[in-house]
Structures are given as C-alpha cells and as structure tokens.
C-alpha cells in the first residue's frame, strides 16, 4: 500500500460531529459536511433529506482538486475556499489540510456569516484531524486482530 490508512477513532469522530453540529447551528446552515480530499465523507450534520451524500462528497473533492490545479496554472499556490452561489441554495467549501469543510446554506444565512463561523470551526477541525493523522501513523492496524485475521475466505465471501 502506498500510504498508511487514515483512521478515525470513535472519540475523534464524536468531537468532529460536535464541531460541525455547532457550526451548522451557528451559521444557520442547511447542512455541513466534512469530506476527505480523496472524496470520502468523514461526517455530516443537518438537513440532508434524500441527498446522495456519497456522490456529493466525491464531487466536492473533485471540484476542489480541479480548482486547486487551476490556481497553480495562474500562479496561485491554492484557493483556500470555493463558493458556489445558487438561486436558493449555496455552497461554501473551505480547505483544511487534506480535508474539506463544506457548508450548504440558503437564504436564512449569508456568505459572510458562513465564512466567519467556518473559519473558527476549521481551526478545531484541523486540530482533531491532526490528532487522527498522528494516531494513524503510530497505530499499526495489523496489530488489531480485526484486520490481521481477515482471511481469504472472508474476502471471497464478499463476492459470493
């Protein structure tokens, strides 16, 4: 494997949920997502209805990856945030290291409010994700019997 897996433990997950839950309330957002830059959803809070959150996360990551490359082409290092404004709903994406904080909001909020609150929350999110990254490096999942004991039969059974 090229890189060690990124592991989120229960306590870190709950801390992240709490931060994005608070952000969602503070900026009157419809929903807040925390997404890995590779497109994996880490945590979600808010009114997601029947939204396809998996696809949403993947497209948000693709969007930021493309924007980041466009920044490089015009001589910018990166665009730390991306905004999409719609008629009713809008999206604000803030890049935090290798993760993205994505806020979906409507006319009950404003871009200014979202930016201010998201900035504050992003510091907390960055701290928790740094902890998780350090733990991931130090933690050998091979020592965890759950993974060390995965047998060929276990894997074959997925395709039975």
């Amino acid at each position: 494997m090229a890189q060690v897996p990124f592991i989120i433990h229960e306590q870190q997950f709950n801390r992240l949920k709490s931060v994005i839950g608070r952000l969602c309330v503070e900026c009157a957002a419809r929903a807040v997502f925390l997404v890995d830059r590779d497109g994996q959803t880490i945590a979600v809070h808010g009114d997601i209805g029947d939204m396809d959150t998996t696809s949403f996360a993947s497209l948000a990551a693709g969007n930021v990856a493309a924007t980041h490359s466009m920044a490089k082409l015009i001589g910018e290092n990166t665009f730390p945030s991306v905004v999409h404004e719609g008629e009713r709903d809008s999206i604000f994406i803030s890049v935090i290291g290798r993760s993205l904080l994505v806020v979906v909001f409507d006319e009950r909020s404003t871009l200014g409010l979202v930016k201010i609150r998201a900035k504050k929350a992003s510091h907390e999110v960055a701290r928790i994700l740094d902890d998780a990254a350090d733990d991931s490096k130090a933690f050998s999942i091979a020592q965890d019997s759950v993974f060390a004991d995965i047998s060929d039969d276990d894997i074959d059974s997925l395709f039975a």
Binding site: A2, P5, F13, D36, D38, Q40, A142, I155
Partner: protein, 194 residues
C-alpha cells in the same frame, strides 16, 4: 488512501479504472451498476461530454458487504482516456488504493495501450505512488471482436509485475466482476500488512 472509521465501523477504499480512450472503462462501471442490488450501490455519476466521452470522471460507490464487522465500501472511479485530459487523470489518482488497467485488445489500439500504461506509471509516480507496489489488475477487454491480439502476446507486452490478467467483454459483463474481485481482494489483503 484507505479510510477506516472505527465509530461507524467502515472501511472505504478507492479503485481507479485506467486505460486509453474508448477501451471500456465506463462500460465496466455501467455493468457493475446494472448488475448490483439497489441497496448495495449509490448513484453512477458521469461527468461526460455531450458525446458521452468521460470529461472528468465517472464515480460509483459500491458496498460489498461486511468483513469482521466492518462494512467495506469501494469508491470506483474511471479516468478520461483521451490523451489531452492528462491533468484530470492525475487528480483522480490521488488517494488511490487499487488500479485496474483496461486494455483494448484490438490490434490497432496496441500503441494506445502502451502509451496509456506508460502515462499511468508516470502519473502515479508524480503522486508518490509506485505501480509495482499498488494492488493492480490488467483487464484485456473487447475479446469478442474479430481483430484482437492473442492473449499471450498482450500479456507479454502489457503485464508489469505478474498481476492477474483477466479477459473481458465489458459490454456483456464477461470478466467485469472477476476484475473487480481481483483488485478488491488485493486491497483488502494489503490491510493485513499495514
């Protein structure tokens, strides 16, 4: 990068289908999508041009089942095959856990296969990956067409490291799940070594 969430007990992995233009990468995903139970899959997202050529990527989440109490989720991506979309291909390889190279078996596409495989190695390398160390499967697609190169010759030309080589006709589904199984098995086996 495999993402493991102990709170929700999920393992998330990213598989990328690579290969030259029109080799059948999207057709592989389309067949998996059409043949999978509704509850095991999300939407198939296709960022395509007006002529249905992949512009940025196709994406499909697939839940394979549970291993040792952890749900296994595979995010399947294709890249655009056309040479000039190289910037997009690089982006999609970020965080990859396993690669499927879909080769077009037709004689006249051999140069395109070789060029695309070289491009894969280069783009992986630019992202800090080594193809020789990644879970990897070579699929020889379009085996039903009349002008195909014999399997032994294609394998000799394109096999990089003794990876599984699977004959396929993606349009009918032949070999599609064997290919997915081949790469998924390697990705999960890697978890034992992390």
């Amino acid at each position: 990068m495999t993402f493991i969430n102990y709170a929700s007990r999920e393992i998330n992995c990213k598989i990328v289908y690579y290969g030259p233009g029109l080799c059948g990468k999207t057709t592989n995903l389309q067949h998996i999508y059409d043949s999978t139970a509704q509850e095991a899959k999300g939407k198939l997202i296709s960022l395509a041009t007006e002529t249905d050529r992949t512009l940025f990527f196709d994406f499909m989440p697939l839940e394979l089942g549970t291993v040792r109490g952890f749900k296994t989720r595979f995010h399947l991506y294709t890249v655009p095959g056309q040479v000039y979309y190289d910037a997009s291909r690089k982006l999609i390889l970020k965080g990859v856990d396993g690669v499927v190279f879909v080769a077009d078996s037709q004689e006249e596409r051999m140069d395109a296969n070789v060029e695309s495989l070289y491009n894969l190695e280069e783009n992986l390398s630019s992202q800090g990956y080594d193809l020789m160390k990644l879970p990897y499967v070579l699929q020889l697609n379009k085996r039903d067409l009349p002008n195909v190169i014999p399997m032994e010759d294609l394998t000799y030309e394109l096999q990089k490291k003794g990876e599984p080589v699977i004959e396929a006709v993606a349009s009918t589904g032949t070999g599609v799940f064997d290919t997915l199984k081949g790469v998924a098995k390697q990705v999960l086996t890697e978890l034992r070594k992390s």
